[in-house]
Symmetry: C2
Subunit: 193 residues, 2 copies
DNA sequence: TATCTTTGCTAACGAACGTTAGTTTAAACA
DNA sequence: TGTTTAAACTAACGTTCGTTAGCAAAGATA
């Protein structure tokens, strides 16, 4: 969907995602946002309630995408290695296909106020727990090395959540391609066997 | 060195590191900073030139630490695997021992103005090149899998630069300990061999 | 065409921003 | 002790902030 066919409200959300990512939430003024769209700052308020509402929408929409994509690829039948791979590739695809929103999700969530802030943290913790369980199952099945589950989960998410710092979705590598390569990297490591 | 024995200027830098990390550079006001120290905002300017000078000092001091620690552990004699391990553990130690400054270095550098911004990017690129070369040597020596060097470097730094999002230097795990474990993770991967 | 609703505008509010000027206090030194 | 210097203070500057009020234009509906 090109940007011209979006409703103004959707357009505001999309441009806000991009500006919040590039400049940060606090350093992005409503006048910056309005100017990027081509209207006056006050006109934004015909479509949105507040600046923070924009941040909330961005953070919780992409959070829902993470959950949805995870649930879609976890049918519960596969072995631990494959289930972990599916989770990693699902997460990677969501990030790589939504670079602006993901960046905001990873870096700007702290500017949420209560009660959104607590809700955000709760959802994130629940999502992280799913990956911890996958790691635990892999270790118990003897497929993964005996690493600390919580520690490994943090390293995995560090790797995945850094994607927006370097990946450009410009056709050179598709989201699906980097998803598979990142899964290989996490599972196999750098060393040749 | 406890915070009481610091010069006021060093104290300002230290508190600024912490606030810039916790709230972000733009969301941290000079009044916030002054209040955390226990003086008035205007009094800060007896010791510093500007808010941006604080950011510059933080970013370039930790950048120098990265280079220094890298150079210290690279004597050039070791094999590719060990040289890579030394680079990773050196980087990790600097991050884990300077969580506030590292966070600012990773996340707030974009608020630098020219010419500091270009200088920052140049230094970072030079540092990243050292890791790319280590990866290239490891692949050519047949020790590392044949991955894209630039891609692997990005994944490595994503893993390392995410440390401040989860690590607390509270004695449970020392910087040296996580450095070794992270190096294992990057080299060996999750799968049991 | 007449009416209603949506979407934009200009103007402005009160608050917070980084920073400067000018002054007072405290510390260091003669 | 008297003098100099460093480091704090109060007050305020011009700017920008998110947001609101009130009004005009444009589009949809009757």
């Amino acid at each position: 969907m090109s940007i011209e066919t979006l409703s103004r409200k959707d357009q505001i959300n999309q441009v806000a995602q991009n500006l919040f990512r590039e400049k940060g939430y606090s350093a992005t003024s409503m006048r910056d946002l309005a100017k990027a769209i081509g209207i006056e700052a006050a006109s934004l308020y015909s479509h949105i309630k507040s600046k923070e509402e924009l941040l909330q929408n961005i953070c919780f929409r992409i959070a829902a995408e993470f959950f949805d994509e995870y649930d879609r690829v976890q049918n519960g039948n596969a072995d631990p290695k494959l289930r972990f791979r599916h989770a990693v590739t699902a997460h990677t695809r969501v990030v790589a296909s939504n670079l602006d929103a993901s960046s905001v999700f990873f870096n700007e969530w702290r500017h949420l106020n209560e009660p959104s802030l607590s809700e955000f943290k709760a959802q994130r913790a629940a999502y992280e727990d799913r990956f911890k369980n996958l790691l635990k199952e892999g270790i118990e099945a003897g497929v993964f090395r005996k690493v600390q589950v919580s520690f490994a989960m943090r390293l995995v998410f560090s790797t995945l959540n850094g994607i927006p710092t370097w990946y450009r979705n410009d056709g050179a590598l598709s989201p699906d391609q980097i998803a598979e390569q990142i899964a290989d990297f996490l599972l196999e490591g750098l060393l040749k066997k």
